[in-house]
Amino acid sequence: MSDDLRTAPGHQETPAGPQAVPAVVPPVSPLAGAAAADEADVGEPAIATQRPGANRAGPPVVEVRRLDVTFTGRGLRRGQDAHAVDGVDLQVMPGEIVALAGESGCGKTTLARTLLGLEKPTAGEVAYQGSPLRYSSRALKAYRRKVQLVLQDPTGALNPRQSVYEAVAEGIRIHKLRGNEEELVARALSLAGLRPPERFFLRYPHELSGGQRQRVVIAGALALEPSVIVADEPVSSLDASVRGEILALLLKLRDEMGLSVLVVTHDLGLAWNIADRIAVMYLGRIVEVGPTEDVLANPSHPYTKALLSVAGEGMAARTTRPVLLKGEPPDSTRIPDGCRFHPRCPALASGAAEAAGVAGACRSTDLPIIPAAAGHAAACHLVSAS
């Protein structure tokens, strides 16, 4: 399989299997905080001094293996099921920030929802700390305490008639956390940067700014001492000047508490700002994955290149004309044969694929799934050929 995939030198072996015991780590490691938090409810968060905070030796905190999520439903004819996620391997290591990027309709939100146990996989599995997720309500409840969700629009995520205190305390009550509720709420609020926390207890969402609301949502997640936060477009509804503050908060939480974050976004600039690794998704598959520096500074898949060319290139003067892909992302009820990107692929259209002798393969041969532990890899016939 590795012949078909371009694998960067930094290739890593698949970490220990599902039954692996978390490695013992020296206390200076950023993982110490996370491990302590996991084992013994909550200790004081350890302070990390270095970046990236990921400890690649342990098992992934969350992982999906050969994940398929297929929707059938009214309006879809037989044989026209929507393959929202169509074979994805992805890992999030302890203390790692992973960005999942792609256009709308590429399946990134479905993948995130499945990771949270909100959708059941049609095939494949979700694993937490190496063991497969079980879907009994008791198991899910425990799981959802450890894997928390932060949504795009904080105004929609907060109940307008609930005070900040109530919003943050709700999860604490549902999960019957031990300890003084007021202290737990105060701690979560100050971790989320709302200080002094007491000042915010009795405020209502409409009295807060957009950035503060998103901090309340994050505090609600932090109150449960999660090991992973899944953030679906966490800043795209916020103002530009506030955006950086929320991203800085996510980085800080990772550094200080060893929190892992999976951030679902269409914004490659966001990935460049905070993500250790990035996975680019197209039509239900990951088409390129790797360390953010490698993927964004040196993209190999034509799709990643096209996305980058239209991404907000900061304020630097644009030097290259953007690569405009024709049409919109095709729909997941009709995944093209061969490489699923080939109908829109600029490399195929320009004849580059023809010249490399892979045009036939592009049109007819499906690409293998990129293994989760790959370093920098792209699912592309042209890349494998060169």
Binding site: S241, G244, A248, L268, L270, N273, A297, A317, R318
Partner: protein, 325 residues
Amino acid sequence: MSLLETKDLWVTYRTSEGDMPAVRGVSLTVDSGQTLGVAGESGCGKSTLIAAVLRLLPKSTKVTGQVLLDGEDILTMNWRELRAVRWAQASIVFQGCMSSLNPVQRVSKQIAEPILLHEKIGEKKAMARVGELFEQVGIPASRMHNYPHQFSGGQKQRIMVAMALACKPRLILADEPTTALDVMVQAQVLMLMSDLVRDLELGLILISHDLSVLGQTCNRAAVMYAGKIVEEGPSAVVFGAPAHPYSSALAAAFPTIGDQRFRYAPSGLGGDPPHPDDLPSGCTFHPRCPVAREECSTVDVELWPVDSGHRAACVLVRDQERALA
């Protein structure tokens, strides 16, 4: 003469809680074949500004100053003259293409409506025009009789652009025209708008909170804060080498991919934009300004020239200018 010129435009909303000045003395110009980008955070008055240009604000709103379209003041026009200007001289593309189209009416009919109202031509000719407009925005004319739900988001936004072009206006005001769209589709729509501006010699005001959108499409850019223009100039300069601390903060919030300075360093600005009924004294930006001095809380400076065609409202720029003089 400029295509559009606003002179000291003030817009004040009258609410039960008192007067809210949303636009405070904005003067700007747009020429044919030119795109002016207006950037700023929500609540800075950028949408109010273009609504004021076509007098689309509630009756109770107090508007002062001048809005000159080809030298004629829109603010003093009577109803009849104003109707003639809307659509035919200047039109608007709104953000929510999903909600701007009537879902139970064929698209062709919706685009033909302003044509039939504004021009003395028959339905047949109007429909032929709709077909041309469709081709112009890159949708096959054969689809013009479809209903809105049969189009994708990007196509609907293209239809909104086609609609704005229906009566051959010379000025288009676009309020966040691509915000609801995907990056790739956004790039397609922006490219289309740039081409139309060039080919049809249109003037375009493009409003966005997303500087990367403005940087890609605009010749000139203006940055608004709390109802005022704080910096104005060629877009490459305003976003690439901003002179006002607020523009710098805004520009820094959009990282350059590949630039190590932005890696693991998301940049933000503390605090929140001020509310129009509670504006800070002096320079309205001073409570959030990283380089504010003592005088900033009392002195509100006007726009000072930085370079030719580049102005910024900041005491730093003023002092520099004075030192040179």
